[in-house]
């Protein structure tokens, strides 16, 4: 029997991700990839695979999986309960699951996303050199969509690299994200420029891998703000539509947009955005020269 993972319960949204497909935004293809690559790397290291090997990314509520063959696995990222055949096991640590084993991943208590790595390659669609799922365009992953009950994902041979434990991440709901001014920052009113880093925001229910709309006091644009023409949109951008509520673009965001790009999160803090869930408190801080 070939090695495979059976999806018994898919969880809220579980997709196959890796480092994503960079360099295709000029074709309209978003990068995608693990929303929190730090956690994906830890999971992969626990099972002795390369940092960017494809993994399962789960959201808020983890999946239940059955393995058809002996397989090493590890779970890392947002804290949650992990059970192997009914027994609780630790995160950020490689475990051996015998053929027929059941892995049950519970509800995430802080943050939004966790990662399951196996010591076998995950079979998935590839596009642009990546297996990452982009649901909106049906690219990568398992049939270009989130995993569903009764899906059966084929696995390759065991790597044989050995299982280990890694230092887990500390993940919290609240996020402090460092930003630098964006190309249209100058169109914010003086009051809004100041407010941006002085008031708290909260991620709204409209939060997914594409982006998150933030609740908080409204920001406003100067009255003489010109009409925007479509231009590049990069992940981590604080867009400000006329309505005054920030829309933060994330890993799956479309490649061009037409809103004011008020600011952008620095590269180092981008992985933190993968842990934003509805209700997460968010503060923005101006990055210092030494941060970037």
């Amino acid at each position: 029997m070939t090695a495979a993972v059976q999806i018994i319960r898919p969880g809220l949204q579980t997709t196959i991700q890796d480092f994503g497909r960079a360099g295709l935004r000029h074709k309209g293809v978003p990068a995608s990839g693990a929303a929190d690559p730090r956690a994906m790397i830890i999971a992969n290291r626990c099972v002795g695979l390369e940092d960017g090997a494809a993994v399962f990314e789960f959201t808020l509520n983890g999946p239940t999986l059955r393995l058809t063959a002996d397989t090493g696995f590890a779970v890392a990222g947002a804290p949650c309960e992990i059970k192997l055949n009914g027994r609780v096991v630790g995160a950020a640590k490689g475990h051996l699951a015998r053929a027929g084993s059941l892995i049950e991943i519970g509800r995430i208590t802080q943050g939004a996303r966790g990662y399951v790595a196996f010591d076998r390659a995950i079979a998935a669609r590839e596009f642009g050199g990546s297996k990452s799922t982009h649901i909106y365009s049906g690219l990568g992953g398992h049939m270009g969509r989130a995993l569903e009950k009764q899906d059966r994902i084929k696995l390759g041979d065991r790597s044989g690299a050995g299982l280990s434990a890694q230092q887990p991440l500390r993940i919290t709901d609240a996020q402090i994200l460092r930003i630098v001014p964006g190309p249209e920052f100058r169109y914010l009113t003086q009051k809004s420029k100041t407010r941006l880093t002085q008031i708290p925001f909260t991620a709204s229910a409209q939060t997914d891998r594409m982006g998150t709309r933030l609740n908080g006091k409204k920001l406003s644009l100067k009255s003489k703000t010109p009409h925007m023409v479509s231009s590049a949109l990069l992940p981590g951008t604080l867009q400000l539509p006329a309505g005054g509520q920030i829309v933060l673009s994330l890993v799956d965001s479309h490649c061009t947009g037409g809103y004011v790009r008020a600011a952008r999160i620095i590269r180092r803090d981008l992985p933190l955005t993968g842990q934003i869930k509805p209700g997460s408190p968010i503060w923005f801080r101006w990055a210092r020269e030494t941060d970037v």
């Binding site: 309209g28 590049a232 970037v292």
Partner: protein
């Protein structure tokens, strides 16, 4: 050379902001910027080019210098091929758009299918085709609240832009018609039907011609 401003867009990207729409020069600048091999992505748009780099490999000051040199030496490119694109002009907004513009629907169809457009860039979602060359008098406002699902192949106008949706997606453009052609096929050897600098000519077709040529699943 065109006038431009360099603007920071995060700690790993710079936006080259041009005063006016570039037309054919856009592809030439993009080609030269790609040639530097310094950027993980070079993203053109109507009036801007955004370049992304790794700040661990190169400083923003170095990138600024490279851009200045590259833009002074655009690579000359031959004009792109002319492609006749069939369009069934029966979009959900055709009548209201014509009314807004003070035209009969038929006159709008004639006016929209007359120009030779150029593919300015692909963007938004995979294969979405942004064209340049829309006659100024056909500019239309974007819908205030976008439709939840626009069919793939839909041809529309938003502001002074016209373009074609490649995939089903939400969208706020005013829809004039639809091409039966599939513009993005991830399984194909060449997944994208059009590329920047291609020149497109819309040919109005009838409903039965559309049905016969239909490549979309729905």
């Amino acid at each position: 050379m065109r006038q431009y401003r360099l603007m920071s867009y995060g700690d790993d990207a710079l936006l080259i902001d041009f005063k006016t729409e570039l037309g054919p020069a856009l592809a030439m600048y993009v080609a030269q910027l790609r040639e530097t091999k310094l950027f993980s992505d070079v993203i053109p748009a109507y009036r801007s080019i955004t370049v992304q780099f790794n700040p661990e490999d190169v400083s923003e000051a170095q990138v600024r210098e490279v851009i200045t040199t590259a833009l002074a030496n655009p690579i000359a490119l031959p004009p792109g091929p002319i492609i006749d694109v069939p369009v069934y002009y029966n979009g959900a907004d055709l009548r209201s758009a014509a009314k807004t513009l003070g035209l009969k629907p038929k006159a709008l169809i004639i006016a929209h299918s007359a120009p030779l457009y150029e593919v300015a860039f692909l963007g938004f979602l995979p294969g979405f085709t942004f064209l340049s060359g829309l006659p100024k008098h056909l500019a239309l406002p974007r819908h205030d609240s976008p439709r939840l699902r626009v069919k793939p192949g839909s041809v529309g106008i938003a502001g002074a832009q016209t373009g074609i949706y490649a995939l089903p997606s939400p969208g706020g453009w005013q829809l004039l018609g639809r091409t039966p052609w599939k513009l993005f096929n991830p399984e194909a050897k060449a997944p994208f039907r059009f590329k920047a600098a291609d020149r497109l000519k819309f040919t109005p077709i009838t409903k039965s011609e559309f049905d016969n040529m239909l490549e979309h699943e729905a």
